[in-house]
Symmetry: C2
Subunit: 230 residues, 2 copies
């Protein structure tokens, strides 16, 4: 047992990109799973280090500046209500490309896929993202799929916000083993039982879809902007 346990604990450097306007749950779902993988060394990195504010007003502190991180075994880019500033930041996109060149797995949640796309990492790939922006993956040369998450080579892309939890459990099974992934699922008691069944466009009425779009637009009114990339 001790021997097999030791073998699992190969150090794994997992870097999360944090930024102003990110969606907290996109990152924290996977963080809660991946940070508990034996041997995992998780770090939050942000464009300038220090603190970032999410699109719902939460503040994360203690981020490492991206300039201080040169490699990772896993890179995870969460989405946010407005990722346009990232898509237009050549320095950030260079960093994403550079880290991707060192990773075993490069992952995104929600609109984080658009950042990977802008960095040129979705060319000729199958990928997914939040349903509201799914078709915009095409302009990065990707084939958009309506799936909870998509694996294509070393690229893992999850659909909207909460989908990062499902993707992270699958990734935990790769980084460690399926038993550990199931242990993690039980540790975070991830036995979902939503009170409604409207979590995907195919399951929602038009009325729910209209309400969801209005709610997604809400942070913009508070100056934290949800703007669907064109």
């Amino acid at each position: 047992m001790q021997g097999s346990r030791k073998r699992l604990e190969v150090p794994v450097d997992i870097v999360f990109l944090f930024y102003d306007g990110m969606t907290a749950l996109d990152a924290i779902g996977p963080w809660e799973v991946l940070s508990r993988v034996p041997g995992a060394n998780v770090q939050a990195a942000s464009p300038h280090g220090g603190a970032v504010t999410t699109d719902t007003g939460l503040a994360f502190g203690g981020c490492v500046p991206i300039a201080d991180i040169a490699r990772a075994d896993v890179l995870l880019v969460p989405g946010g209500s407005d990722v346009r500033p990232l898509l237009e930041d050549p320095r950030l996109l260079d960093w994403v490309r550079g880290i991707d060149a060192t990773t075993t797995w490069t992952a995104s949640v929600c609109t984080g896929a658009l950042v990977l796309g802008a960095a040129g990492l979705l060319k000729a790939r199958r990928a997914t993202t939040h349903w509201a922006v799914l078709e915009s993956l095409r302009k990065y040369g990707a084939t958009p799929l309506t799936r909870r998450f998509v694996e294509d080579g070393k690229l893992l892309t999850a659909s909207g916000v909460s989908a990062g939890i499902d993707m992270a459990l699958a990734l935990a099974a790769k980084l460690a083993d399926p038993l550990t992934a199931q242990g993690l699922q039980l540790a975070i008691e991830y036995d979902p039982d939503p009170p409604f069944d409207a979590g995907a466009p195919a399951k929602a009425t038009v009325e729910i879809l209209v309400r969801a779009r209005a709610l997604l637009a809400e942070p913009a009114k508070k100056g934290r902007g949800y703007r669907t990339p064109a």
Copy 2:
């Protein structure tokens, strides 16, 4: 439409208790849902204000000191790997009791229920918490139930970590209406599809249960302690 929309936007003050050693997802699942309820004013409050560090090493900044908060429509207490310091903090428990006296809903996720229990708020209540500590609810006079979340009067308690998302959607339906709750579910694309089905003890093998307990104990080795309350 505009008229009916306005009626939904009654201001709702929602206070989350943040503290050192909290489990990030316990709070962020509900935060992602509740902060998007029209009219919601969400605040993170901590015992001394400022920053707190989670049991997986994340830093949250910008917390309001609990002394500065005298009331709330909703109080939510997330769990953490080691809540014992909170259970032995009379000033904190006084504050929890005082806020509860002003709320429409008092809620917990995971071991946050133990904090409500220590504050005397679980007496003769049906409640739930993380499976690993479920029986410990009895010492606070509660009847423990194996449910995703339990509603008893104005008390809402969710089971482990990820269960706060399900509870928060049910609470959003109460604070706003079911259509808004379903819109929120779609906005965060909460259509869970875990790659494994081991999220509850009843669904897990003994081997998975043993692994889960070992993984829950892991933060302790990093000095962030998971210690099951006796």
